[in-house]
Amino acid sequence: MAKLMSLLWGAGSPPCWRVMITLEEKKLQGYKRKLLSFEKGEHKSQEVLEVNPRGQLPAFKHGDIILNESCATCLYLENQFKSQGIRLIPDSAEDQAATYQRMMEGLALTDKLNSVIYYDCSVPEEERHDSAVKRNKEALTAELKLWEGYLENVAAGSYLAGAFSLADVIVFPSIACAFRFGLSVGRYPKLAKYYSLLKNRASIKTTWPPHWVASPQGYDILKDL
């Protein structure tokens, strides 16, 4: 099964990480994978464009099936391999609804994080404004406070939608990214607890971005949030 799967990925990219966590959780280790470099522009290479005409990572194939949106890939894997590994979408309708809700909200979190962390990459120099940077930081702060609230009762086994689920697969990488980029542990204690509870989960530890392991000291762009 996993042998028919291939993943083109980039280190530290939350969407790529989501797919890798899911593959671990569904016991689909052994898939073919190739680490590409964003800095070298390898995400725009012919190899990627053949799988993903958008020139983005992750680019995932299962036989002839192509899935380039990380949420799509994770939902597909959970659906196709429901009875294997951990159940990532619960059975009960109410619990499912809560899982889907947090999953989709996770995309808003990722967007707001990107708008701060990658401001200089996405906005040409002549168009940058301190007022925009400030506004993006305020929007991210409000967003993080929302998640801090969602995790009010976080504990082992009690995460974004109860037991570990696809909501955590989608959202954890962005939370990890936030701390990597200097988010204050003191100001966001629940997020910090969530982060420290899950960072040692097998699927997460195994797929931890390699360059984060090599250089544990991250950046501090988010330290004032």
Partner: protein, 224 residues
């Protein structure tokens, strides 16, 4: 059942429209609903915040459970009411994958549309640049061409597979939004065919934004 569901919505909002189409397709008419006005700021009212702390529409509850993200709500409805109404997600692997891929790709389309349509609303006057407006238009043009290409490759007239699916529920409102804002019908023949074909589908006709019937559209996208 439908009576246990509540939807607070705004006219012309694609995310609201998606849920309404899904409810029709699953034969869940009879849900409690209330039309609110974005212009009057009603999306920030207590009534909305009680269901959706983000102060956004749609604000949707299934019983006591809030499911405000439109894709989440649509997935939930299809899963919970799988055996009633239209089947929006097929059983086969490849069909599911295509649908999921298109569903999540819609975010790129929505973002790029909104960067053009709402540029002045999103960007304060002192921060606006002609270069940004030009870049946003180019990005949207490339995005629309991608979707035109997707429809050229399908022969069924639907976005994924042979039948109307969750991909169409999620994506159609975003396409209709483009035409409402002046997208050229001639420049994108397959997209136009898709749009005109689906606008007569009962679930879509029944939930067509009321304000779109009352007022003319805009032409901000005519050069895309």
């Amino acid at each position: 059942m439908a009576k246990d569901m509540t939807l607070l919505w705004g006219s012309g909002s694609p995310p609201c429209w998606r849920i309404m189409i899904a409810l029709e397709e699953k034969n869940l008419q009879g849900y409690n609903q209330k039309l609110l006005s974005f212009e009057k700021g009603e999306h920030k009212s207590k009534e909305v915040m009680d269901i959706n702390p983000r102060g956004q529409l749609p604000a949707f509850k299934c019983g006591d459970v809030p499911v405000n993200e439109s894709c989440a709500a649509c997935f939930h409805l299809e899963c919970k009411y799988k055996s009633q109404g239209t089947k929006l997600i097929p059983d086969c692997e490849a069909g599911l994958a295509q649908i999921l891929q298109r569903v999540f790709e819609v975010n790129a389309l929505v973002e790029k549309s909104s960067n053009v349509i709402y540029y002045n609303w999103k960007v304060p006057e002192g921060e606006r640049h002609e270069s940004a407006i030009k870049r946003n238009k180019e990005a949207l043009t490339a995005e629309v061409k991608l979707w035109e290409g997707y429809l050229q490759k399908t022969s069924s007239g639907f976005l994924a597979g042979k039948n109307f699916s969750l991909a169409d529920v999620i994506v159609f409102p975003a396409i209709a939004y483009l035409y409402r804002h002046g997208l050229s019908e001639e420049r994108y023949p397959k997209l136009t065919e898709y749009y005109k074909n689906l606008m007569n589908r009962p679930s879509i006709k029944a939930t067509w934004p009321p304000t779109w019937k009352e007022t003319p559209g805009q032409d901000i996208l005519k050069d895309i």
